[in-house]
């Protein structure tokens, strides 16, 4: 199967994948595609644990990764890999990342703090409840005193341990002189706790152990949910980018093979991809024909035939035999790199929006602090007894926690949803622009239209029935990924026979044996007739069997896409390099009023600029051919299609699942921005509305704490309300076991 395991004895390669640890052991991250099946997971776990020298393993199912810490002296990597393979889980080592921190550690820590906060907040509330009930049904003073102390004891783990991250962040912020929202939070916790302790010791005055614990718990809950969503999103991204081989087999001029690291490949070289392996780079098929499975990109697991000269994207798997590629792009510029950039960008979503919000939040924090000081000063002057309560209440109430969470929560959620629905976002900020788009420029050929067969105008020769001819043509066409062949393959036909001995001839067509007859399907020259541009020909050894006329057809999802966009007020226009008649027909078919034919790339760019000049937010949809400049200038750019297009187009949105993804993305973006606005409005309203009361000393600290933590939680939960239009069609896991 994949590169022989023995390769992993070479020091240069080992350096790439093994990370040495301080305890003398090494760590490797393996990609194991089989982790999708629970049974395999359990097997792999057992096998690894049984190996001598394995210290620990950590699986991340979502990312299909296993992290193994082991003793390299006792267990060579080769043995580890061999053991995995024996367990039915072929494992591929991944290049270790520089940071090296095992994911999940942050999540685990946050889970622990959350649990401690939860359990002890519960206890504190129990004890407080007794005191509250005591107001109705008087308690004897000893009992009351006892319960104050119990409250104090239960709050200690919450304040001393669970709330730790707030202090840490606050300190870090203060050191850097850029106080974040954790500063008021930490201050508030410290003040309220200190005051409650003092009152508990004195035996009189208010205590707030329950509300402070609850406050910490709810804040932690919000952050934990947020952290989990991010981790999940990152894992999905990792799973997509890991599928690349680290090794490649370079073919020398004399035909010999040499195994090299994939990063070393340069354009022009030839690489050999054994059957079952993934292509290590973007390339042009150099062998006669090949069948590859590009399901990583299209999401559709189906092998398609390719002929010499076709483009193959890195990560596509060679099925039914090996193939050779001519390297077209180095790894760094390949479609994979683009995808990596994309996921990285999406992961920085927080940073991106954070950049917008951070200064705002920081100003906010300074104001809160100033306000707290002012309140304190005022009350010290007027009525020192109330100074403390009022100051604390202001600190808590004015703290922009909810505001800080508003944007990241929304963006994480919507990016995750979009990627699940087959829309890949390479620039998180595009989501914002997309929500405001009011003009869309579409390229025509390849974007809105596709070649199509006109079945009723099919001519046949030599007495062949039309249906029979179609069946044969479909049988051959299915074998090729060429757009024209795909157009024929889509024709509905019953009882299509299987083609044997299929061969794809570059620049010609498909050859194969159907129903026992050797046949050819391709352009006129290939099929052995005269020149004929507008049709494909089917022929056998004796001569032509059928003429299959082609026409340009509007893509099935185009009309719905345009309608949906127009319905939400996006003015759509067609900008094409094609002749006016054809552009007009397509525009009419799609109900697009504005169309421009014979547009050069510069003209397209001018359209974008013109729109932007009058304040429009412009979306450009194209495949990156002659509209690259327009795509780059647009506020949002989108490309229908898969991997090869991706590397070329540099679009903000990639739509491997077709144009249908576009309205969906737009709807989701709008929804996300609505929710974001709601979140902001909500948190601002809360802050601004409650601050005057707090400053006036009218809000007791416990109420402030509850309100404030509830408002943060509301923001996170509100973000979870963002849903995609239809339920994501995740393939059901094969969990149902049969045991006969």
């Amino acid at each position: 199967m994949s590169a022989p395991v023995e390769l992993w004895t070479r020091p240069a390669l080992l350096d790439q994948v093994l990370r040495s640890r301080r305890d003398g052991r090494v760590e490797v991250v393996l990609r194991v595609a089989a982790l999708a099946q629970p049974r395999r997971v359990l097997q792999l776990e057992q096998v690894l644990h049984a190996l001598p020298g394995v210290a620990s393993i950590a699986l991340c199912i979502a990312a299909r990764r296993v992290r193994v810490v082991f003793d390299a002296e006792r267990l060579p990597l080769t043995q580890l890999l061999a053991a995995c393979a024996r367990a039915g889980c072929v494992a591929q080592p991944l290049q270790h990342d520089a940071s090296g921190a095992a994911p999940g550690i942050a999540l685990n820590a946050s889970l622990k703090r959350l649990a401690v906060a939860g359990i002890f907040a519960m206890q504190a509330m129990m004890f407080a409840l007794v005191l509250y009930l005591g107001a109705v049904n008087p308690l004897d003073p000893t009992t009351a005193h006892l319960f104050r102390w119990l409250g104090l004891v239960s709050a200690i783990p919450v304040v001393g341990y669970a709330a730790w991250p707030f202090y840490r962040e606050a300190l870090a912020g203060m050191r850097a002189r850029r106080p974040g929202i954790d500063v008021p939070v930490a201050l508030a916790i410290a003040c309220i706790f200190a005051a409650s302790v003092a009152n508990a010791l004195r035996g009189s005055g208010e205590i707030y152990f329950d509300s402070i614990s609850m406050f910490v718990f709810v804040l932690l809950l919000g952050r934990h949910l947020e952290l989990r969503a991010q981790a999940r999103h990152r894992a999905d991204g990792d799973a997509a980018t890991d599928a690349l081989p680290l090794l490649a087999q370079r073919r020398h001029a004399d035909g010999t093979l040499e195994t090299v690291a994939a990063v070393e490949l340069v354009p022009g070289e030839r690489v050999h991809v054994p059957e079952g392996d993934a292509a290590p780079c973007d390339g042009v098929l150099a062998s006669e024909r090949a069948r590859v499975d590009a399901s990583r990109w299209s999401g559709e697991s189906r092998a398609v035939g390719h002929a010499r000269g076709d483009r193959i994207a890195a990560g596509s798997v060679a099925v039914d035999g090996p193939l050779d590629l001519r390297v077209e792009r180095t790894l760094a510029t390949s479609s994979v790199a683009a995808l990596e950039r994309m996921t990285a960008a999406a992961q920085r979503a927080r940073g991106l929006v954070g950049d917008d919000d951070a200064p705002a939040a920081r100003r906010f924090v300074w104001r809160v602090l100033a306000l707290a000081v002012a309140t304190c000063a005022f009350w010290l002057w007027r009525d020192p007894a109330r100074a403390f309560d009022a100051t604390v209440a202001v600190l808590v109430v004015a703290c922009p926690c909810a505001f800080g969470l508003a944007a990241p929560a929304v963006l994480t959620r919507s990016l995750a949803l979009l990627s699940r629905r087959g829309v890949l976002v390479t620039r998180a900020a595009a989501v914002r622009a997309l929500a405001r788009v009011d003009r869309a420029l579409f390229d025509k050929t390849g974007t809105l239209t596709e070649p199509a067969l006109q079945p009723d105008r099919v001519e046949t020769f030599r007495g062949v029935a039309r249906e029979t001819a179609l069946r044969w043509a479909v049988a051959l066409a299915r074998e090729s990924s060429h757009p024209v062949a795909q157009a024929i393959a889509r024709v509905p036909a019953d009882g299509v026979p299987l083609a044997h001995g299929v061969e794809i001839v570059a620049g010609g067509g498909v050859r194969g044996v159907v129903d026992g007859r050797p046949m050819r399907l391709g352009h006129a020259g290939f099929a052995g007739t005269d020149c004929d541009d507008a049709a494909l020909w089917l022929a056998d050894a004796q001569g032509p069997l059928a003429r299959l006329p082609l026409a340009e057809r509007v893509r099935a999802d185009a009309s719905a896409c345009i309608k949906a966009l127009q319905a939400v007020g996006v003015a759509c226009a067609l900008v094409s390099g094609d002749a006016p008649t054809r552009v007009r027909t397509v525009a009419a078919a799609l109900g697009i009023a504005g169309w421009h034919a014979r547009q050069a790339p510069a003209d397209k760019l001018a359209h974008v600029r013109a729109g932007q000049a009058v304040g429009q937010v412009v979306l450009v949809v194209g495949d990156g051919g002659n509209d690259a400049a327009a795509l780059a200038a647009a506020d949002v750019s989108a490309t229908p299609g898969g991997a090869v297009e991706l590397a070329r187009a540099h679009a903000d949105l990639l739509l491997p699942a077709g144009l249908a993804g576009l309205p969906l993305a737009r709807a989701l973006a709008e929804r996300a921005m609505q929710v974001l606005a709601q979140n902001r409005r909500w948190s601002l309203a809360w802050n601004l509305g409650a601050v005057p009361f707090a400053a006036a000393g009218l809000v007791p600290p416990w109420l402030a704490a509850i309100g404030m933590s509830a408002s943060s939680l509301a923001v996170v939960l509100n973000s979870l309300r963002i849903r995609a239009a239809r339920a994501p069609h995740a393939p059901p896991m094969a969990l149902h076991e049969r045991t006969t």
Binding site: P38, R39, K112, V116, F120, L146, T739
Partner: protein, 57 residues
């Protein structure tokens, strides 16, 4: 009051134990994958016997 003096500390101790257990579970990655373990009961299944006809109604 006597009862409280014993019940309340016990409750606190129990809460402490609960936390301890929870930490152990987190440290031993019991919460990292909440999908796979569900097939554990099905792994050692004995074959359903077909000796008899249908289940009784």
């Amino acid at each position: 009051m006597n009862a409280l003096l014993i019940l309340v500390p016990i409750t606190l101790v129990l809460a402490g134990i609960a936390v301890g257990l929870f930490f152990w579970a987190v440290n031993h990655a019991q919460f990292e994958d909440l999908d796979t373990p569900k097939i554990l009961p099905l792994l050692d299944a004995a074959p359903p016997r077909h000796g008899n006809d249908d289940a009784p109604r």
